[in-house]
Symmetry: D2
Subunit: 167 residues, 4 copies
């Protein structure tokens, strides 16, 4: 069985936050996605990495959301699926933007993120990345978030802030 070719757009967010031990704060500074990908045994997909930006999603401008949506749109032309790793706080803005700009894309576009950075023992980053990497192979064309053992289709997905997940 041929592997499906997916483009993986990274934009920053909690999933890749690192800890500055001298200040005691969490930052978006380096790309931990490659470490996570190396820990998974990926027999189903061939991944093309597209590091687009590295921002806390609360700091994304309207132009940032459009840029991510347009980049995802372009990549659907040449890949079997597109994955977007995104901060959860404004993930839904980017998801809706893609639907607004593209309607139903040619191939699945799946967004994911994390509530607890990869650098923490109890991270949800590996779970969510694993789910997104499988969902992109199984769902029909459309725009989705895959997180916390669920796959939800845009439009209409909202972060449940009090519970720390999506519905």
């Amino acid at each position: 069985m041929a592997k499906i070719r997916i483009a993986l757009i990274s934009t920053g967010g909690t999933i890749e936050k690192t800890y500055d031990e001298l200040s005691g704060l969490l930052h978006n500074e380096i790309h931990g996605l490659d470490v996570m990908l190396a820990r998974l045994q990926l027999e189903g997909v061939d991944i093309v990495r597209v590091p687009l930006m590295n921002k806390d999603s609360l700091e994304m401008s309207d132009a940032d959301h459009t840029l991510i949506a347009e980049t995802a749109g372009s990549l659907t032309a040449t890949h079997d699926g597109v994955l977007i790793v995104h901060g959860t706080d404004t993930l839904e803005v980017t998801g809706e933007r893609i639907v607004t700009l593209m309607g139903t894309p040619r191939v699945p576009v799946v967004l994911t993120g994390a509530m607890r950075p990869y650098i923490m023992r109890n991270t949800d980053a590996l779970q969510n990345l694993t789910e997104a990497l499988l969902a992109v192979q199984l769902v029909e064309p459309g725009v989705y978030v895959a997180i916390h053992n669920k796959v939800l289709r845009f439009p209409g997905v909202k972060k449940q802030r009090a519970r720390g997940t999506f519905a």
Copy 2:
């Protein structure tokens, strides 16, 4: 969105193997599945645990495979999906047995396992369990193995012994 109700049949295998520090050997002795499930954030499924047996799958008899297949068949009547955690060495025997006995079941039946036990740092157990728990929500009724970022449908799935995965 209502959670889907799945039955999770555990049968043993590498995924739950533990280490006896006094003998230096690996055994099937306790159920580590509950520890793994507790580490995942499962918003999509409600799980009913069915601990059926705890065997290295090389030691399963023909009657064992039939028992697992029949138990899975019974559970399809009352659940939205059935998951089977199984040693990888004879996982395909159980998968084929289910197809032989049931044809296409009423709901998805997904088998999974691991090449490296959960107790090891570089385990594939959490990845495979995560994938199986998502696939059971996304695939149409049938019998599958979900492992290493792939979902393969029975009949015809084979372990690739030299590579340590399925195709």
Copy 3:
């Protein structure tokens, strides 16, 4: 060989900081020391836990340092050693305070802490706690910090802020 009896005073600090996924900040909220102690195989010491306070050491008042020093002093009367887990930012203030109040205590008093919380994969918490739990058995009576593979004796120990360790 009889185990030595040590009192373990906890005061908070980075070592036990936890992550609030809804706010994205690190807090001193719960006691993770018991989890760390459970992961170590401690055949040399019997530990009496004394949870005295739970503060970021930058927020300790002068009275807090005196309270910790006096508590340590009291516990030297009835134990073979005293361990103090402390935020590194003002650890040296407490160390000097003990020397000022007690001179050379009857038994070893060993302070330790961490630059990266236990909840992070790359934590130094387990290393430092392991070192403190061994040093308290090996050094002569006095006041020390045990951290990062070194044991330094008060007075005169200083945090090297730019390097994130002590000298």
Copy 4:
């Protein structure tokens, strides 16, 4: 404070055992010690690695024990301490051999090992290595085992096989 120079002799043993997922067995094949050393923040010692052999200690011959003892003896001439990582099953044979050949060495010689390999989540390898790396700085010249929060001096140390530690 100048770092002390220590020679670290590796000989194999459980601490570095790896898992062969195709056979399901544990082997002594690669050197995991460098990974462990990279995870520790070592401000007290400068380490010279001496990879002498890589054997399950049950398979060491009498000549192997003598070779390790003589190598340790040679290295005491030019270092401030010598560490030996060794399988626990015959660690005491090597410890006694050093005492027989050298009496009290010029600098501390500290042996350590592990009951559960580093590749396992619940390993004691990092704890024991941390302890040995600190003990070698704190004890007076002699031959010791540092393991499980204890430092014991040869001659006379014995593995407690039923309990999985030393006394």
